[in-house]
């Protein structure tokens, strides 16, 4: 079973978390073009190797985390809080 070390709650079972997909910058909704939205929504990296992604600790602190995970081995090398207003929660 894969374990994720939540910043707030400590080492927890992956079944407590919800997968949030690849962490990527969202285009500015005020000025993004259709092409930029398409790239954001559909052009996945889907790497076979290290990837940075979002996980939501649904059965814990209910905060988003940014996790660096290897997609071939499921090894996790870093967990951090997301940048921006989400980090502290509100």
């Amino acid at each position: 079973m894969m374990l994720i070390r939540c910043i707030h709650c400590g080492l927890r079972n992956v079944s407590e978390f919800r997968y949030g997909g690849e962490a990527r910058a969202r285009p500015d909704p005020n000025c993004a073009t259709a092409r930029q939205w398409h790239a954001y929504l559909y052009e996945k990296t889907n790497p076979a190797g290290w990837t940075t992604e979002r996980w939501y600790h649904a059965a814990g602190c209910r905060r988003y985390l940014v996790v660096e995970r290897h997609t071939l081995t499921n090894e996790i090398r870093a967990v951090r809080l997301p940048d921006g207003p989400q980090a502290g929660g509100s």
Binding site: S15, Y19, N46, L72
Partner: protein, 434 residues
Amino acid sequence: MSSDVPKKSSRRLSRKRIPKARYSALGLLRRGITGKSWPPLWRQHELAKSYNVVIVGGGVHGLALAYYLGRNHGIHDVAVLEQSYIGSGGSGRNTAIIRSNYLTPEGVRFYERSVKLYESLADDLNFNVMFAQRGHLTLAHSDASLRTMRWRAEVNKIVGVDSEVIGPMEIGRLAPFLDVSTETRYPILGALYHPPGGIIRHDAVNWGLARGADAFGAEIHQDTKVQGIEVESGRVTGVVTNRGRISTPIVVNCTAGWCTLIADMAGVRLPISTSPLQAAVTEPVKFFLDPVVVSGSLHVYVSQTDRGELVFGASVDPFASYSTRGSLAFTEELAGHVLDLMPALSKIRVLRQWAGLCDMTPDFSPIMGPTPVEGFYVDVGWGTYGYKAGPVSGEQMAALIATHETPDLIAPFGYDRFAEGRLLGEKGAAAVGH
């Protein structure tokens, strides 16, 4: 054939249909008496410097494409490149269920053609693929899923596919070991019954198609890994492999699990994320389960093979990964759900479990057709429904490559549908149930 497919060299022109030892009862008897060994199903070749068509991926899709290119369109100068052995990926890991009871009219028409091709495939290939149309039950445990079953049944009937919603009494008659009482945690309210659905021997399909493709002149190269795709001014010119370089005007990505990595080599980004799907098989027991039983709500599907083993499959793991290791959490959850459905199985032992990689698209429909790179075609994004569609994808992609016109049957599944907002939502019929 247009100018994009260059005329073959004289060496290749002579290579049309290669005669094969025909399988028959008489042939079996004769070889039994004489002790003469059978010829190999397909030959081995040195990698040539060029091919008209290079197919990446030696699974059911790639082999079917090679077969139909030769059979229907006279294109024989074809190489199938497989990084391991044929059928080592999804084509040997799926749970071998064939059905056409989908949700969208586009999907139902496409998979119905596939069922029809599977029905005649053994005759066509002279190879027993053991297709057993024993019926397919998709259980509904809630009003919402019962409504989806009714929806699917009506769409199926309009397209001409045999599907009907049936009640618990009839479900109990078709599958006597199912608990259809109201005393369970998730009572069975009804089911979508699809009589033409069934199971097949997937290895036999792979081998039969490989033998058929070989007979039409295609070269099957195992242990041949694609390391790069050469693109010059927007069109494909060649493929780099661990066994050397090949020049070719046409590359078809027929891989599963690795399709985004292959597409990246040609500079094409796909809206796909890859997740494993775990399956398991039990010890063989006396035959008791005729139809395939699927429960979307319980994330499980069960069928009994001709050998008597029960094959279980689950839904895809809930995060992207290329890891094909099984997990205890999966086995526990699966066992619990199987026992919810069939309490009599409490003593049966699981022999082994495995995982296959599923390329999930946002709308649970595949991606078939040309890409922005000229000569680079995709037949990818097969999620959890690729095996059902092997022959039809090969047939339709072969028509596309030979005629340069997208056949109506696969037009809704084009690469450009995401940019154009024409998504084809098949989640209601493809997310869990197979």
